[in-house]
Symmetry: C2
Subunit: 741 residues, 2 copies
């Protein structure tokens, strides 16, 4: 789990500590506490749910304690020099110390009765996520972002220079024309250089387009040319330049990192092989079957016996194939894994292999006569027919119309229709197959309909009692509308798009966390600077609790709720700032209640989040989408498939979609019929469930995807394998075990 970033001693005691440290439940617990530390902001003043400060302080101390415990665990097996020079550990230790000091100061201030004290050090909390070994992928994403910064600074300076020159020009052109802004007639048009600069910076984000242009355009049509030139240069050219520079650098840095990772992995695998292999005098060294099974059992996350067996077969086949090419005697040493094959182990462990225990319909087992009866067969034929799908698509559309038209009475009808559909499908497929991992749409379907069913009953009973909570109704409504999404799963061409999106979704989670960390830090700062200055909701509010705002545009558009009074409101406001539109109005509000310096916070947020982070996300999404569209099986996946086919263990279909339902249904049906008529009982019905394997297209995590991205470009390394680091843990374990054995 820690990859090459963790250096450790190899004596038995240290290895023991290492194994204890890398216990996965312990890691998860640590992560949980790290998250909990962040969530504490909900209860700390200014709080969403206020708790006394001693309660939150104790909880925070517990979280810090857990982090300190992990650090101390690390201390027991990492060389001391590495421990105290590693910037990560230093940052963690310093953050803990600063937090403790801040805590003491805060308690002192609160106890002395001063109001409005705030926990400043909370802004540092995301640092744990960036530096702890438990959140390696977040750290990597951060490092990549940090690496991109120096390169875009040049563009940033040029960009700012461009705005400055345009501002000077606008300032000189419009200053003496006696023009006024439309929305605030008291405000003269372009009379202050820095105000003008801010106006034009906002124009880059398009948030005040075309309003900022209108007074000049009204005064002379030709001034439109100035603004069009400005937008082309600054909004279109510079913004694309940012994207291009970030895209380029980000890729370059990633490639370097992944190349290093691949080399490191290869080195470690070679070391492991040397330790594990039996050396014979006149033959190449090989790992025997016995050692192989032993080693696999000792992994932190051991694969099932079936998988280990399969891997063995694949590596054997791999070796044979290579030898065939080289025309060496085949019978030589079939029962061992050579070095070349062994180097493929990490890749092999990364293949997203799913064990399908092809299920026997329990109705067939426990109620065979009924299941095989004529009416049952008729039902199953119907369910397998494509008109079954069409009919329910039609029902969904009818349902949508009824929802739109508020025909509440039809709801029970549709609910029972959809429940019937689920029951029929379940009967035909058997519950186990119905809920199999590859039929995610069924899960979705089942969850939505059942929740709606339960919620509707609850609502009906509450209705009787004359208590009528809106929330239940809203919840039911969401469920009803989500039901409509099902129709997408029934159209083949939409499935492809949807699957592409779903496949890259897990990889995007890392970036989601990065974004959240940055939001968190900004939210804490914003609460410290702007908390409590603006309050109330927008309706009929003339000053949002602050007389300085009276008559401003901020009040007119009713933005009182876009405040930084607690962590949730802050996050919503920051999301609005990320979407960019109207950010200058939000800024205006905080400028009015503080000073023009508040603009720095908002411009800084825009530069960091919108220009830097969002562009990196766009670059990543672009690359990942294109890869997913044109996804081909990797080298090692093809080999695994070949072996699966040879062994007849391949699942009938690789689709992870609803479409699967239909084909599978038909196949089941046919098999069933054949069996019945021929009177023979297929092995799968006699010998219990047969296990097959299926390679999932989805990626386990962002790194596997990234490595796939650069697979083609890392030519030399591609041969020696291009798998990901997370699995190299297991190889650390491999080396570890073999030393102690």
């Amino acid at each position: 789990m820690f990859g090459r970033t963790l250096e450790y001693n190899t004596d038995p005691t240290s290895l023991d500590h290492y194994r204890r440290y890398s216990n996965r439940y312990l890691q998860w617990t640590t992560l949980l506490f790290m998250w909990f530390l962040l969530i504490l902001a909900l209860f700390e003043d200014p709080a969403v749910v206020p708790l006394p400060y001693w309660a939150t302080t104790i909880m925070e101390l517990i979280c810090l304690g857990v982090i300190f415990f992990r650090l101390s665990q690390l201390y027991r097996f990492v060389p001391q020099r590495t421990m105290i020079t590693d910037p990560k550990n230093i940052v963690i230790a310093l953050t803990i110390i600063v937090t403790l000091i801040d805590m003491v100061v805060y308690i002192g201030i609160v106890e002395s009765g001063v109001k409005g004290a705030i926990r400043v050090s909370r802004v540092l909390r995301p640092l744990f996520f960036i530096n702890m070994n438990e959140s390696k992928q977040v750290r990597r994403a951060f490092r990549n972002i940090r690496n991109t910064v120096p390169e875009i600074l040049n563009v940033l300076v040029l960009f700012m220079f461009s705005i400055a020159v345009f501002t000077l020009l606008a300032f000189k052109l419009f200053q003496y024309r006696g023009l006024y802004y439309r929305d605030d007639v008291s405000q003269k048009y372009f009379v202050d250089y820095w105000d003008s600069f801010f106006d034009l910076y906002v124009l880059v984000t398009t948030a005040n387009s075309p309003d900022v242009m209108m007074p000049a355009y009204d005064s002379s049509e030709w001034f439109a040319l100035f603004f069009i030139a400005y937008i082309i240069i600054n909004t279109y050219i510079f913004m694309n330049l940012f994207l291009a520079v970030i895209y380029n650098n980000y890729r370059a840095h990633l490639k370097t990192e992944i190349r290093a990772a691949v080399f490191w992995k290869r080195k470690k695998l070679e070391e492991a092989f040397e330790l594990l292999a039996d050396h014979f005098p006149d033959q190449n060294a090989t790992v025997t079957e016995k050692t192989w099974f032993q080693v696999m059992k000792k992994l932190t996350n051991p694969p099932t016996y079936r998988k280990v067996n399969l891997f063995w077969e694949v590596l054997q086949a791999y070796g044979k194939e290579d030898k065939n090419e080289e025309n060496i005697d085949e019978t030589d040493k079939v029962n061992g894994i050579g070095k070349d094959q062994f180097l493929q182990v990490a890749n092999l462990l990364n293949v997203n292999l799913v064990e399908d225990s092809s299920t026997v319909n329990i109705f067939y087992i426990y109620a065979r006569d009924v299941y095989m009866s004529r009416p049952s067969r008729f039902i199953r034929t119907c369910v397998s027919h494509r008109f079954f799908v069409y009919f329910f698509d039609l029902m969904i559309i009818a349902n949508a119309v009824c929802i739109g038209m508020d025909w509440e009475s039809t709801e029970w009808f549709f609910l029972s229709i959809f429940i019937l559909e689920i029951l029929l499908k379940m009967f035909t497929l058997g519950p186990k197959e119905y809920f199999s991992f590859s039929r995610l749409w069924n899960w979705f379907d089942f969850l939505i309909i059942m929740s709606a069913f339960i919620a509707t009953i609850v609502e009906a009973s509450l209705d009787e009692l004359n208590t009528f909570p809106r929330e239940v109704l809203d919840f039911i409504m969401v469920l009803r509308c989500l039901r409509l999404v099902r129709i997408v799963g029934n159209v083949k061409r939409f499935q492809t798009i949807l699957m592409t999106v779903l496949n890259i979704a897990p990889s995007l989670v890392t970036y989601g966390i990065v974004l959240l960390m940055i939001y968190y830090a900004f939210a804490i700062v914003a609460m410290e600077c702007f908390g409590g200055l603006i309050s109330g909701t927008g309706y009929e509010n003339t000053n949002c609790g602050n007389p300085k705002l009276e008559g401003s545009e901020f009040i007119r558009v009713g933005y009182c709720n876009n405040n930084f009074n607690d962590i949730l409101h802050s996050l919503v406001t920051l999301v609005e700032l990320t979407v960019v539109n109207q950010w200058h109005i939000i800024t205006l509000g905080y400028v009015l209640v503080t000073s023009k310096a508040a603009r720095i916070f908002f411009i800084f947020f825009h530069l960091i989040v919108v220009i830097l982070i969002m562009n990196i996300i766009v670059a990543f999404v672009l690359e990942a989408f294109i890869l997913e569209y044109s996804l081909s099986r990797s080298h090692i996946e093809i080999r695994v498939e070949k072996v699966l086919e040879q062994l007849g263990l391949m699942a009938q279909t690789n689709m992870t979609s609803v479409d699967h339902d239909r084909t599978q249904l038909v196949i089941d049906q046919e098999n069933d019929d054949n069996r019945e008529y021929s009177g023979s009982h297929d092995a799968r019905y006699r010998d219990g469930p047969r296990h097959t394997f299926r390679i999932n297209k989805g990626h386990k995590n962002v790194e596997v995807l990234l490595q796939r991205m650069f697979e083609g470009e890392l030519e030399v390394e591609a041969v020696s394998g291009s798998s990901s680091q997370p699995q190299t843990v297991t190889l650390d374990d491999v080396t570890g075990t073999s030393v102690t054995v």
Copy 2:
């Protein structure tokens, strides 16, 4: 110029007609008339500069006449079957016919005294650009866009479905809560399905974020989740999906096209070689030197004698090298171009080779004693020093401050300082070198300063006469501010960025034209639908000339000038719609004066221009930027450089930047000094200007750039060359000539 799209007969008369047709002045004239046809919209009703309709009609007839003439020219050498089945010609002919009919109808209506008649067929004018042979690159860009459409339709349907489901949900959640929009209290929140749909479509473009959310957010904080989910799914995921799909498809289609072009070019070159080469019984066929020079002279755009000579040398060297590799006797046939070499001709002609006649300073020739005198040498040493550059950078900054502070009196000082700088540089470098093609910053500098100088004099004299036109002052102000841009040219790291932008700029022009064509069509439609309904300027206007608008948001923000009353206003409004922000307010205005159906026009415009075209431009820019950043010399360029080096004809530096100035200055200086002290006179001073060559980094056009983009990926073809089509004209001519000879 026409590439492989033009099929023609090869009999002598046809070839003669072909040569006449492809006369480049004729082509430029045609293009001029095509542009003029578009510009006519300025004078046609509703006009910016009204002309009587008979005048514009006559001008239009002339333009149509020119286009018809070109079509008839084509008819003389293109096989008749090709002529009448080619969709391009059919479209052109039909467009002419429709235009003529429309013209007659229009005259009829106007003569019968009916007001408000409009020339409907003007919307077809961009079709000439898409279909005429003269604007091949625009046509290609259009074809690529068209090819991308089918693929994004799936995403579009899914996207619309997503909005529809979200709308249904929002509709049900907010319908009965008694909420109102903030800006228009009379308008209830989400009570009409299609209005809600439009609101949420606008939210995808972020134009009404967060306003559309505020009423719900004020009513319950948790509704923010709905809008955040909506924005993540529709704005972030779907919009990026559009970009990704377009990026992917656009690249795929381009690659297919360029592969085809490369193959076609190879075929034609082989044909040409067969015709031109002298065949010997026991040797491979070769093209002799004499034929080579004859052929080169007959190109439509013949290179200079020096270039032809250089090409000959390069191809010779090319041949030798290949033979060396194959270990064949070298002395064999040095004096001929073999087939493999000949296939490189098109690539060779595409190398952006600039002839540098390294100039002798005229001061040196005509006033040698002065030029070589001690004060002169001192001045030249100063100018070459880097503090000279620093000093003037400082002056520019001081100038910026003075402009900002309105210190008008300093202007004459700065103007003379900058004129002095120009004169000093010109003296040191000599005027010819100063204005050499590689020193574009000097041109820029000279133009800006001289214009400012002249304008300031004009202003001063007008000032005396007490007439004081604002326009002159504005013009001077623009020039003064542009002067500041010079500073960018003096910083090395900014130069790189700027050069990258400038290098891809010519390629972007094609897309600019495509965008303009689409704007034109939309502008004509908008003038027909909305012309004259909204008028006046925003200041103190309460209804923009239309009582239906009274009290609306459109009036409040003062958008009266965002109208479609003439072609220029229409274009500005369309640019505003492209920038997206506030497009829903503009839409609102036109909905109020017509009906809700007006939304279709604006949504359609958004889909076509913002989602389709802008994404294609972003994709292209991204690809081009990344290529330019990591630009390496192509295969053939390296060979040309090698030959240039061997012949000692390489210019001293390849930089096309200002930095060039400094190094060049220093070199000149040193050469000069050395020469003087050693007493020897360098050949360049004795024998007059020595011609050197330089390979420019910039690309001639979008196609060369595109081919470079895919060079790596078109593996097989890359060997046989990867040059562009435009030059293949010359090869058509080659075949042509050789037949008639």
